[in-house]
């Protein structure tokens, strides 16, 4: 287990170094003059000179890459062209909003997805199960921006139940939560469907295993078999999915934050792209990628820890 942990950590570190290098090189990888790539063809020569200097583009490429990598590890991601603030401080302001949104969505997704999956498994092949199967697929295929727009239309424009824009203030927790409801639901819908399906499939798989049959033969009551034995095991793979979930929620947050005008890392990257504010784009994308890598890693490790079979398998199978 320790060895596995070490290997995974080293791999994650290597991936992050590659990601940073890639982002440092990005403007050079794209054909054409890097300053033109960043600023667009209509930038004035004076502005181009400022960008060239601010972003180190007047120095040799290996030096630029090295400076960006060492800077990134020290928490220095460069300076915003527009506001002259450090990119790190912009991200530090935006990130908590996005994390609050992502965790709320995850909470909703688990809170609704697990019961749906359990219910479907309990009434397997019944009418409710069939209906839930179709509903789950529909949820999974609904893009977050479509759900977001429709929720906005229904609950902010048509009937004014929830606010359409902004985040509210944390000093008024009720108001803050009210601002969070629609965006979090928009992001969660896909994952409700996904987790529901996953839990159902896992439950059915576990219920078919010999130890459940043995428990039943020994006269253990149905309720105990179902909730204590089966559900516990069926939830383990959900943990693995949550890692991927958290990462892609942060990615999907860009749409929801744009639609509901929330100041998070998604809208930070989006606005920076629109103003061709390249240091902010680069820093924002880097932070999202790092979060994504660590969310996956954490879920993976917890999953291995919870499921002894995977641990054993790992020792037998050389990768």
């Amino acid at each position: 287990m320790l060895k596995y942990l070490g290997t995974r950590l080293v791999m994650a570190f290597v991936v992050i170094v590659i990601v940073i290098t890639f982002l440092a090189l990005l403007v050079h990888l794209i054909p054409g003059n890097p300053v033109t790539t960043i600023m667009g063809p209509r930038a004035s020569p004076a502005l181009a000179q400022i960008v060239r200097h601010d972003m180190n583009l007047d120095r040799p490429i290996p030096v630029q890459v090295w400076d960006f990598i060492t800077g990134a590890f020290r928490g220095n991601l460069g300076v915003d062209f527009v506001s002259n603030l450090s990119v790190t401080s912009l991200i530090a302001n935006a990130l908590p909003q996005t994390l609050a949104l992502a965790f709320t969505s995850l909470f909703i997704a688990v809170g609704l997805g697990v019961p749906v999956g359990v219910y479907a498994a309990k009434h397997v092949n019944g009418a409710a199960d069939r209906l839930l199967a179709v509903v789950s697929v529909s949820f999974i295929t609904m893009p977050a921006f479509v759900v977001g727009l429709l929720l906005l239309l229904a609950f902010s424009v048509h009937i004014h139940v929830f606010p359409a824009i902004g985040t509210g203030s944390l000093s008024a927790p009720g108001d803050y939560l009210r601002h969070l409801v629609l965006p979090a639901c928009a992001l969660a819908l896909t994952w409700i469907g996904y987790i529901g399906r996953l839990v159902r499939a896992n439950m059915l798989e576990v219920l078919g295993e010999p130890h459940i049959r043995t428990a039943r033969a020994h006269g253990v009551r149905d309720g105990v078999v179902f909730y204590r034995l089966a559900l516990k095991n069926a939830l383990i793979p959900v943990v693995a999915v949550l890692g991927v979930g958290l990462g892609s929620l942060i990615g999907g947050a860009i749409f929801v934050e744009v639609i509901f005008a929330r100041p998070g890392i998604g809208s930070l990257i989006y606005n920076a792209i629109l103003e061709r504010n390249y240091p902010v784009v680069r820093g924002g994308v880097l932070v999202v990628a790092i979060l994504f890598v660590f969310a996956n890693l954490a879920a993976d490790i917890v999953y291995r820890f919870l499921d002894p079979r995977v641990r054993v398998e790992l020792q037998n199978v050389k990768r």
Binding site: V19, S138, P143, G252, V258
Partner: protein
């Protein structure tokens, strides 16, 4: 996007026996859900090919006096902010959705399969390097990667397609790698090798046909995702630009005028949801018939 590099080493799929095509046809006919999915595919392909002839109006015909109207006899789905017929624009928009998604997935397939075969067959250092690179590409959420690249290369139909394909390459490479590694251990591969067949021949002539069906399923499942990503890029205004009647573009301008008329947003959502849901239903049906191991 799930990682599938640990597929169980089942004997090569049911797809390898000769009757799988017949099985698929049989299943499509007998599963209503797949039939629905197939119907959606056919309808959207017809709209993509002949949309401008079938549409009641030209996509740029303006009726400014009747802008932002709801459904009516003259305009079945209503009109947009310039008084253009929504039904016509959405029908023609189908072409842009498919013209980005299908080539994007096809490019990802070709590149991913090539990379995955190299890694799976040769193993060792090649495999390590490939897997690390794939991990690095997958360190970015697909939308963020596509968005960043697209902002730098500039928007055009071609660039949007290429940028989306990058996000899909890793899943093909991983699946191919896993399938090739599983297939490689079969005795017939050893037999081939002892007969003097070169590695390239073994992979292309013997292993590839064995995994083609699984890759086909994966493609069918990825096309709706690609449609969603491209609509998302267009919605953010970073993909196809107005006046192109892309679904994401119609959503985007509909969002701008949402206080005045909900119809552009509603109908564009309906088209997008029916397309992605229908395509997914067919793809999942195909997966269950052809290769249940790919279920995620």
């Amino acid at each position: 996007m799930s990682t599938v590099d640990a597929l169980p080493e089942a004997p090569t799929t049911s797809a390898s026996h000769p009757g799988w095509l017949g099985e698929v046809v049989h299943d499509i006919v007998h599963r209503p859900v797949m039939l629905v999915g197939l119907g959606v595919w056919v309808a959207f392909i017809i709209m993509a090919i002949g949309g401008q002839h079938l549409a009641p109006y030209a996509i740029d015909a303006q009726d400014i006096a009747h802008r932002l109207q709801g459904p009516s006899h003259a305009h079945l789905l209503g009109t947009d902010e310039l008084g253009r017929d929504l039904l016509s624009r959405l029908m023609v928009g189908t072409r842009y959705a498919l013209a980005v998604a299908i080539p994007a997935v096809a490019i990802a397939l070709v590149v991913g399969v090539t990379v995955g075969m190299l890694a799976g067959f040769f193993g060792g250092v090649v495999d390590r390097v490939v897997v690390t690179l794939l991990d690095s590409v997958q360190a970015f959420p697909a939308v963020i990667l596509a968005l960043t690249l697209l902002a730098l290369v500039g928007h055009s139909l071609r660039n949007e397609t290429l940028v989306i394909s990058v996000a899909f390459i890793p899943s093909y490479a991983r699946v191919t790698r896993a399938l090739v590694m599983a297939a490689k251990n079969n005795q017939w591969v050893d037999a081939e090798r002892s007969l003097g067949a070169r590695p390239l021949r073994i992979v292309v002539v013997h292993i590839l046909p064995n995994i083609a069906a699984s890759l086909f399923v994966l493609m069918a499942m990825d096309i709706p995702s690609a449609i969603t990503i491209s609509a998302g890029l267009d919605f953010l205004g970073l993909g196809l630009q107005p006046p192109t009647p892309s679904w994401g573009g119609i959503l985007s301008s509909g969002f701008y005028y949402v206080e005045q008329s909900p119809w552009p947003v509603i109908w564009a959502s309906v088209f997008l949801v029916i397309a992605t849901l229908g395509f997914t239903l067919l793809a999942e049906g195909l997966r269950d018939v052809i290769d249940p191991r790919l279920s995620r």
